[in-house]
Every structure is written in C-alpha cells, then in structure tokens.
Symmetry: C2
Subunit: 339 residues, 2 copies
C-alpha cells in the first residue's frame, strides 16, 4: 500500500499509504489506473497550494475495483469495477438547492480538497462511484472522468447533427470534446499548435489546423459558405484563444469556455452584440454526463486507445509530469496504481 | 418640408428636404416625433462616418402617420398611424437564410445606411412600418423602437416571474429594460452613476444603486440570500460594467450584453467556468419584439411619460445633442418633426 505525496514546491515522494477502513457510506477502491490531469500538474507547480493539504495525494481520473464497503452502502460490493465522479457538494448552498451540485459554492473536489487516487487504495463516498461494464478495460475506464468533462461541454454547447464544431486546443480534453461532438453528428475542426497532437488528431479523422500557420476564421468561413461555426470550444485558456473564439461562430453561434483562465482576458464583446453570439461557461460534469461517458467509452466507438500515450508505474508520476511539461509527444499519461 | 443634415465633424444644418414620391413597395410618413438615440450622438461625434452618406439625415426612433403609399403596398393607407422598425436585411446572406434578418451580414439600418427620420416626411420600405393603436399617443409611440430593443434584450435574457434582474446603466435603454423585465414579473435593480437618473428610476419603483458608492455584488448577494442575480444586463459599454457583470449572477445565471463596446474589454472568463454563467449578445430586435413593444406601450402600464425629459422642435437637434453630452438631467429627448 503506497501513495505519491506532494509536499509543495514541485516536490513529490513515494511513501506508505495510510491503511483506511471505509467509514459509513464509503467504499475503498483498489485503484487500477489513474490519469494525470492538467490540474495535477497545476497542483505540482504550486498554483493550488491554498486548496490542498500537505502532504497531498493527488489524482482524480481513475478506474478500479471495490475492495471493501462501509456501513450502509447499498448497490456496491467488493469486486465491482468502478470509476469515480470526484465531486462532493455541500447539499445546502444556493447552487445545491437549485440542483447544480457540480457547481456547489463549497464544492469539495476529491484529490484536491481530499486525498486523491495516486495510491494503491482510494476511499471515497459511495455516491461518487459509478459501476462500469465488464466490456470496458480499466485502462479506458480511467478516461471516463475527462470524457465526462467533454460530454458535459458538448451538451452545454448543444452540438447537433450536421453542425460544424471547432475545438480550440487539441490536448486530452480537446480531443475528447472532438470525439463527443462527432458522436453527436457534427463535423469537427481542431485548432492546435503541437505537431504531434495535430498529426494524431488528423489520424483520428478530424479536420485540423495550426493557427500559427493559417487563418482559422478564413478556413471556417470557407467550410461554411461564409456563415461561421455553429459551436466553438475554447480549451486553451490563452489570450490567443479568447480572441479567436469570437471570430469563428455564425450568427447566434455558441461558444463554450472550457479552459480555466487564471486572469481576465481581452474579449471582443462587440462581436457578441453584432452576431448575437452566446457564451456558456462549463465546469466539470453532472451525473448524466458521467453516465453518458461510460456508455460512450463502453461502446467501443471512440478511439480512446490512441489517446493513451504512456502507462507508467505509480512511482513514476514525476516522469509523467516531466513529459507533460515538455509539451512534446504526449496526450494522456496513465499511472498503474493498485498493484 | 425640412430636414436636419449631418456634414461630418460635429456639424449639422437645417435645410430643405428632397421631395420624394414613395416608390413601389414604399410608404411616405409624416413624422410626428423622433427620439434622439445615443447612436445619433455617436454619428454626430464622427464615429460612424464610414457608414453614413454626407449630408446624412439621421434618426430612426419615430412615430407618424402615412402620407402616401407607393405601388403594390398592401395593408397600409394614408392616415394610418405607424412606427418604423428601421431594419432592411439583404434576404440572402447566411444570417437571413437562417431566419435572423435582424443580424443580417449586410444589414442596412434606416437612418444610418439610408436617410433617417429627422425630417418632415420619411420614405421607407412598407415592410418596416408597424401600425399603432389609436390609444397610443405619438409621443409615446416614438419610444417604441428603443422599447423594442428592451423587449428583445429581456427575451434573450429569459427573464421570468420572481427573478432578480440587474441592469447596469440606467439611461433610456436601461430604464426600458427595467420596465420590460418588471413586466415579466422580475424584481429589478438598476446600477447607475447619474444622480438625476437614479432619482428618476427610484421614483418609478425600481431598486437602485450607485456603484461608485456601494458594493453592488454585496447588495445583490444580500437581496438573494447569497445566490446572486438571475439575469444581468450590461448597458454601460464600459470596462467597469464588463467587470461588474460577471460578479453578480447566480450559478448558471445569464448576462446579456446590450452595450456596444468599441474595443475589447477585460472579462473574467474564470467566473464563467466557475459558476457556469451564460452570456448572450443582443442586437436590436425582431418583429415579435416590435409587436410586444407596441402592445406594452399601448397598455398604459409603463411609465413612458416620465422618460421623456424634453420635446424640442426639429431645428433644435443641436441643443438636444448638447444636453445629452452634458450627462445631466436628461433621459429621452424627442424632436417634433412633421409640422
């Protein structure tokens, strides 16, 4: 039983994990695979030190099997294969009262405000566990959490059959949004600057463009007879993305802000007026998005395998971070945890 | 038959108007009253010289009576009291094809791309004329165009019974949005810095706040048990408004951008993510908004009279501009035109 701990200041260590018996309403999961999220890298870089508790066990994208269940847990038993929707809403704030627990004013995110999945066993509230079908491998099931993000974004963006969706940023979330939008029947164009990712996305059948080499608005107008894109997903969190996102949509087109901007960005509000654009903020997912992600992942229709560029033992989380920092040939990196 | 002409560089003159016989599909209207819009002031200040044709007759908020109809005009006859929806869409662009003629890619706005209403007789396409009920005075009917803007904004903002709507900017459009939102059953708070307008809005029964004197977000949280506003209307076109608009809405609350921003504004996109906010651009109106505005104006329920602070003869347009520039005790200024 081991875990990787974050101590602040880009310092991590492998150590023994505390032995926990699940409390009432909890389940203990033997973690199969855990994906490294950009948020984990963000924590490692010290940007979220105010939210974590040292030493912090990170990780929230995972798959595994129930090892043990606490008192009062129904519908889950040892051996069940599961993934976790890592949200713990307060249940009492105005957002929870309005039925929006995923944007709870006091939301606890498992793996940030609580210990995470980068360990052998992970103990979580039973209501966060979702059973997965036997047909779904644990490797692919570790992608369900980011795929649920994508399903939420595409749902918020109201992507429909025959539409053109443009995804700004072709990392793991952007790629999964592209897949989910295509599942809704849309043509998808992904704008990305990393050549490795561009090539990978192209090989998956998506239209691609490097915005440093080509005028994306011109391309989109060409693809749509001058009308513009139906939906645009901003997944870069960059000023360049904030500028490009308003140039692409058609009249009454939709923009979904997926990227997490660390500071205000200059936005062309005139364009919102002029074309009656709509912008929707999207945050994590709701239960229906998790269910949809499980269904999609289990369908076998999504090329999930091609997104997993590396599988490392838990102890090598540091190498995973290095590869992500390099901006090179990586998409999703998984850790083997529960061995 | 006279008109006021704009010659560029803040120069206007009163002169003879061309004698026009309405062409096929056109109507000639004897103008009763014409409101001075912020857009007219904007033209006068030289900011729209690329769109107008010198010498330009401005004006697009008006009421009047049909004087004469051209060939093929049906449903309108001399003597009919009317107002005009001053939009001439191309009918062929992608926006028109999608049924969004009011945001046509090549929209001609009457009074900007064509001669306007600041004259004795105004000749316009018959399809732009809307009949008004006898019970509605021509003074109030001149407010229908800006009221239609407000109806459009409130419709786009999906304001519902029992909600809290916050209007940033309490000029004529902001005041009309406040009235239209209240008609939908909302409580309305208006944020404004002009003391005259604050007092007027308060006298009309609206909650008011001066953002220079009080923390608006704190006030809104106090009014909503910490939840936030359901809908926020940004009508200031200012950086301060762009900042405030994201601080006020509840989770999944709506922001409507009504103000016309001349340059990009710094916008807190993180807040869109964090609260899953929605932002809708709104531009002018559609036919249903005009119909709704006529219905509301004719109902007598709106305190329209209190918005008309001045009625000047057509020749005194320059004095109207001066009063608007002063930022003082003015709300809507009307010109008497067709005498």
């Amino acid at each position: 039983m081991k875990a990787v701990y974050y101590h602040g200041n880009r310092t991590i260590s492998v150590g023994a994990a505390p032995s926990e018996t699940p409390g009432a309403g909890e389940v203990r999961i033997r973690v199969g695979y855990a994906g490294i999220c950009g948020t984990d890298l963000h924590i490692y870089h010290g940007h979220m030190d105010a939210r974590v508790t040292f030493p912090q066990i990170m990780g929230h994208e995972m798959s595994g099997a129930i090892e043990d269940v606490g008192e009062g847990v129904e519908g889950l038993r040892p051996g069940d294969r599961v993934t976790v929707m890592p949200l713990h809403p307060c249940g009492e704030c105005p957002a929870c009262a309005a039925g929006h627990g995923h944007i709870c004013h006091k939301l606890k995110f498992l793996g940030i405000e609580t210990p995470g999945a980068f360990q052998t066993f992970w103990t979580v509230p039973a209501f966060t566990a979702f059973k997965i079908p036997d047909s779904l491998s644990l490797e692919h099931a570790a992608l369900i959490e980011p795929l649920a993000v994508a399903c939420h974004d595409v749902r918020i963006g109201e992507v429909k059959e025959g539409e053109l969706a443009v995804v700004l940023g072709g990392g793991p979330i952007g790629a999964l949004i592209a897949m989910a939008a295509r599942e809704n029947g849309a043509r998808v164009l992904v704008s990305e600057i990393n050549p490795y990712r561009l090539k990978l996305l192209e090989s998956l059948g998506f239209l691609t463009v490097n915005p440093l080499e080509r005028d994306v608005a011109e391309l989109v107008n060409g693809l749509t007879g001058g009308a513009g894109a139906d939906a645009v997903f901003e997944v870069t969190s960059s000023q360049a993305g904030a500028e490009l996102m308003t140039k692409l949509p058609r009249t009454r087109g939709r923009i979904v802000v997926v990227g997490i901007f660390s500071k205000p960005a200059a936005v062309d509000l005139h364009r919102f007026f002029f074309r009656e654009l709509k912008l929707f903020g999207a945050r994590v997912y709701e239960r229906e998005d998790f269910s949809r992600a499980i269904e999609l992942a289990a369908s076998g229709r999504l090329p999930l395998a091609s997104l997993v560029t590396d599988i490392l033992p838990l102890e090598r989380l540091g190498d995973g971070f290095k590869k992500m920092e390099s901006g090179g040939d990586a998409m999703k990196i998984l850790l083997r945890c529960g061995e």
